[in-house]
Amino acid sequence: MTAEHTERGCLDKDEIAALVAADIPNGAFVNLGIGQPTTVADHLSPDQGVVLHTENGMLGMGRAAVGDEIDPDLINAGKVPVIETPGASYFHHADSFAMMRGGHLDVCVLGAFQVSCTGDLANWHTGAPDAIPAVGGAMDLAIGAKQVFVMMSLFTREGTSKLVDECTYPLTGRHCVSRVYSDHAVIDLTPEGAGVRATYGVSLDELRMRTGLDLMSN
């Protein structure tokens, strides 16, 4: 049964990040994508023992570096200076992506332009004819981890659902997203379709109406 939280408003970005952090298993190896997913780190408790991977060649990445800690040779995938944590390790790019592609990472958290109900992901290119294509590690991340979580607002500013039957933006990966954490709902995605675990500020029926999707109750 979907947990319908209609007594409250929708989740803010911080609350979404906290929900994601709470669902990351203890001891997991995790990659947090650039942008909003990075904020999940602020909500991980040391007791969880989560080890962060950054695709530019490091396990055991710590928080952003400040002051004297800043070292131009120690940056994350967003090119932000970070610190190392005890037990950290460094490796080259081919090893870093082998670790990802080989299914060794437990969880990857990414942002998205669109996600389909069966887990297709579009997050690298809007398809605009004058846009310069830039993919970075997005396609490798999308298909690499055992579980891929997406964090996004469920609707565009114009009110269009970003969860869709079929992505209209160019794909990053096929059938790769396992769960969406959004301001209005947490939704599991499987080849059978989208199942809503919880809603926030809306009922499941309202959500079905606003998205126009055949959402199942999970």
Partner: protein
């Protein structure tokens, strides 16, 4: 050759011909062999194909090489950045060819070149525009796309420390593409901030064995921060 040729930056790049494919290390500025790139720019080889994760930042280094029209084609994963105006302008006016490659495929294609692999099936990019026109195959129920090696005529990498044989150790995330590119080029040039006598690096800590390194350029003081803490 058992000893890497210790030389200066300008001499190291002097035989890079027009039309060469040059692998250039670095992720952003970390691990970017800025002085070797500047030397290549002064050398003036034209019609180059460059492989780098990005397509230049600001006006210096790779961006300067692009700006003077020395590069015909670039292979990278992430050309578009806040400060990639040089590339953006060239691309929009059709003056440079771009092949966008997912970052992991970029690294693995160079790894394959260095390891003598003819091609490989990667799950990355399946079903996306970057797989269009490529051979696909389903193996044990999973879909893959065929990817070919990327070989360089020259690799320009930045390491932390070398010994006189050309064994290399790197520093933190500045390692990134260096070790893979060093294996994938016919001739590898490494710029380092420190050179020690053969035998002074712990063999257990060497990341790039000397067999992959042809020329070492010693640039003390380039990475002041790189002094403390690195293995070896």
């Amino acid at each position: 050759m058992t000893t890497a040729h210790l030389t200066d930056a300008d001499a190291a790049v002097a035989d890079i011909p027009d039309g060469a494919t040059v692998l250039i290390g670095g992720f952003g500025t970390a691990g970017q062999p800025m002085e070797l790139i500047d030397a290549l720019h002064r050398h003036g080889a034209k019609d180059l194909t460059v492989v780098n994760n990005n397509a230049g930042n600001g006006d210096h280094g790779l961006a300067a090489l692009l700006n003077t029209g020395n590069v015909r084609k670039i292979l990278c994963s992430f050309p578009r950045q806040r400060d990639s105006w040089v590339f953006d302008g060239l691309y929009r006016s059709g003056k440079i060819e771009l092949e966008v490659v997912p970052q992991g495929n970029l690294a693995e294609r160079m790894r394959a070149a260095g390891a003598g692999i003819g091609a490989f099936f990667s799950p990355t990019g399946v079903g996306t525009p970057l797989a269009e026109g490529k051979e696909e195959r389903t193996i044990d129920g999973r879909d893959y796309v065929l990817e070919y090696p990327i070989r360089g005529d020259f690799a320009l990498v930045k390491a932390h420390r070398a010994d006189r044989m050309g064994n290399l150790v790197y520093r933190k995330t500045a390692r990134n593409f260096g070790p893979v590119m060093a294996t994938a080029a016919t001739t590898t040039l490494a710029q380092v901030s420190d050179v020690v006598e053969t035998g002074e690096l712990d063999p257990e800590s060497i990341v790039t064995p000397s067999i992959y390194v042809d020329r070492v350029v010693h640039l003390p003081g380039v990475s002041e921060l790189a002094r403390e803490g690195a293995a070896g």
